[in-house]
């Protein structure tokens, strides 16, 4: 086969792949919509897509023969449901007034900040930020009969998970940097405070920030949110301590409800980036052991096909994490992670935050689905 024939064949295969590649599924609001472009639309509801990651309401705007269809994007079904809304809140044919911000690409899409039903003057689909439960009982760290702290429910309870991370952006301890819930920095001048970057990693991080994280593979194609990121996402994590198997399963409340194992049986860390039976792609191989009341987990074998933080901090396949989980009382889990990646950072660095116990609840049902780009 000639070289040109080989290149031609590769070209065809690459084209095939591009065609079958997944379309955009989810995004940071500012990546798709321009906060500086406010707009008001009045029209009739024609369709409602009650789907994650974003609900969409379709509205026909105009009159006579001059009608334009708009897609109004809203938060996830989880967030809307928590705020008391359902797919039946709006009806097809309802007249509504939408206030929102326009899509950056000029298409007929808008992020809906407010939807008001004309007939009732009622505002619908507004989201009330969820707060940690206030009526939780305080208490000491729950323990197993052998005295080891429990990362899951106290004895006699079967449900509960961890959520409401005290920080949603991974950055080195002591960094005084403001960022939003997606990891977007308030001030790009703070970039060098976030982590001890190698130059290329610093500039790639800046590139991602300047582009409002629009290329995040978690949003583009529902890739896993592996590494410490799973502890900074909004829908929480759950620990299933399978002591009879000497392992703990860490369930993730967002993405595709993936899980990873922390092996506590002393098996060798294979650390294969291609993945194998106990080193699934994206999650690395987690070997854990208890040091007093802290579960210390060593993780190697990550691939570089995902973002390991909100905000787009780069990493390489040399990423090596040391996690420390300490349940300081019934309602508080302290998570600390040390990042060692000589391919992207000039030294190891550490970050830490806490999560709050949500008793008597399962993780919210949420899957990253193929929604509208």
């Amino acid at each position: 086969m000639s070289r040109n024939a080989v290149f031609g064949f590769l070209g065809i295969v690459a084209s095939m792949f591009i065609v079958i590649a997944p379309v955009s599924a989810h995004h940071v609001t500012a990546a798709k919509f321009d906060p500086g472009k406010s707009m008001t639309l009045r029209g009739l509801v024609t369709k409602i897509d009650w789907l994650n990651p974003h609900v969409h309401v379709f509205v026909d705007v105009g009159n006579g023969n001059n009608i334009t269809s708009w897609a109004i994007e809203l938060e996830s079904t989880v967030d809307l449901r928590r705020s008391g809304w359902t797919r039946d809140t709006l009806k097809i044919g309802d007249a509504v007034t939408v206030q929102g911000i326009a899509a950056r690409d000029g298409s007929n899409q808008a992020w809906g900040n407010s939807i008001v039903v004309t007939a009732t003057n009622r505002r619908v689909f507004n989201v009330t930020p969820v707060q940690p439960p206030r009526d939780r009982a305080a208490g000491p760290t729950p323990r197993w009969p052998d005295g080891q702290p429990r990362l899951g429910p106290p004895a006699g309870q079967v449900m509960g998970y961890w959520a409401f991370p005290s920080a949603t952006t991974l950055m080195q301890m002591g960094a005084n940097v403001q960022a939003d819930e997606h990891g977007l920095l308030r001030n790009l001048g703070d970039i060098d405070k976030v982590a001890p970057f190698q130059r290329w990693a610093r500039d790639l991080y800046e590139y991602r920030q300047r582009n409002f994280l629009k290329d995040d593979p978690m949003y583009i194609s529902c890739k896993p949110q592996a590494g410490p990121r799973i502890f900074q996402r909004p829908y929480g994590v759950q620990f299933l301590e399978e002591r009879q198997h000497q392992r703990t399963r860490v369930m993730m409340g967002a993405g595709n409800q993936n899980w990873r194992f922390i092996y506590l049986d002393g098996r060798p860390q294979t650390g294969s980036i291609e993945g194998n039976s106990d080193t699934p792609l994206y999650w690395g191989h987690s070997a854990g052991k208890w040091e007093g009341d802290t579960l210390v987990v060593d993780i190697k074998g990550f691939n570089d096909s995902f973002w390991f933080s909100n905000g787009g901090l780069p990493h390489t396949t040399q990423l090596h994490l040391t996690e420390r989980y300490t349940r300081t009382d019934l309602n508080t889990l302290r998570y600390e992670v040390t990042i060692d990646d000589p391919g992207a950072y000039t030294r190891t660095w550490t970050s830490s935050w806490t999560l709050t116990w949500i008793p008597n609840e399962e993780l919210p049902i949420y899957y990253c689905q193929d929604n509208r780009p």
Partner: protein
């Protein structure tokens, strides 16, 4: 039989490409394919495979072909996302010819990011466009 073989190779290629497409680490890592040439009609297919360790970019120009050559110089300026490459390669007649490549990485966030610029082989200068597979 040939059809089966072609299907097998296609599936294998798709799996390989899937793995490559998903790379989010150092932006130069991966297989880059495209063409270069001194004119719009005189084009040559080219392939560059690059990697990065903790400090250094390494790679091979046209691996598996008679003009295969390791990259002797590979310098990234990430403030502008420009990349300078040099290799001791060969021309069409098999004579030694130094290749000097200067280009810019664009669309960094895409798995199919591009690398475009000027390509000099011996005394012949042209332009090139590569895309990461």
């Amino acid at each position: 039989m040939r059809v089966k073989a072609l299907v097998f190779v296609s599936v294998l290629a798709c799996l390989t490409i899937t793995a490559a497409v998903a790379q989010e680490g150092h932006p130069v890592i991966g297989t880059w394919s495209g063409e270069w040439g001194p004119t719009a009609t005189q084009r040559n297919n080219v392939l560059i495979v690059m990697n990065y360790d903790t400090t250094t970019i390494s790679g091979v120009l046209n691996p598996g072909y008679p003009d295969e050559a390791p990259l002797k110089v590979a310098t990234l300026d990430s403030t502008k996302w420009t990349l300078h490459l040099e290799a001791d390669s060969k021309d069409e007649r098999g004579n030694p010819a130094k290749v000097v490549i200067d280009g810019k990485l664009e669309n960094l966030g895409s798995p199919n990011r591009t690398f475009t610029g000027t390509w000099t082989r011996g005394n012949v200068k042209g332009d090139f466009k590569l895309a990461r597979e």
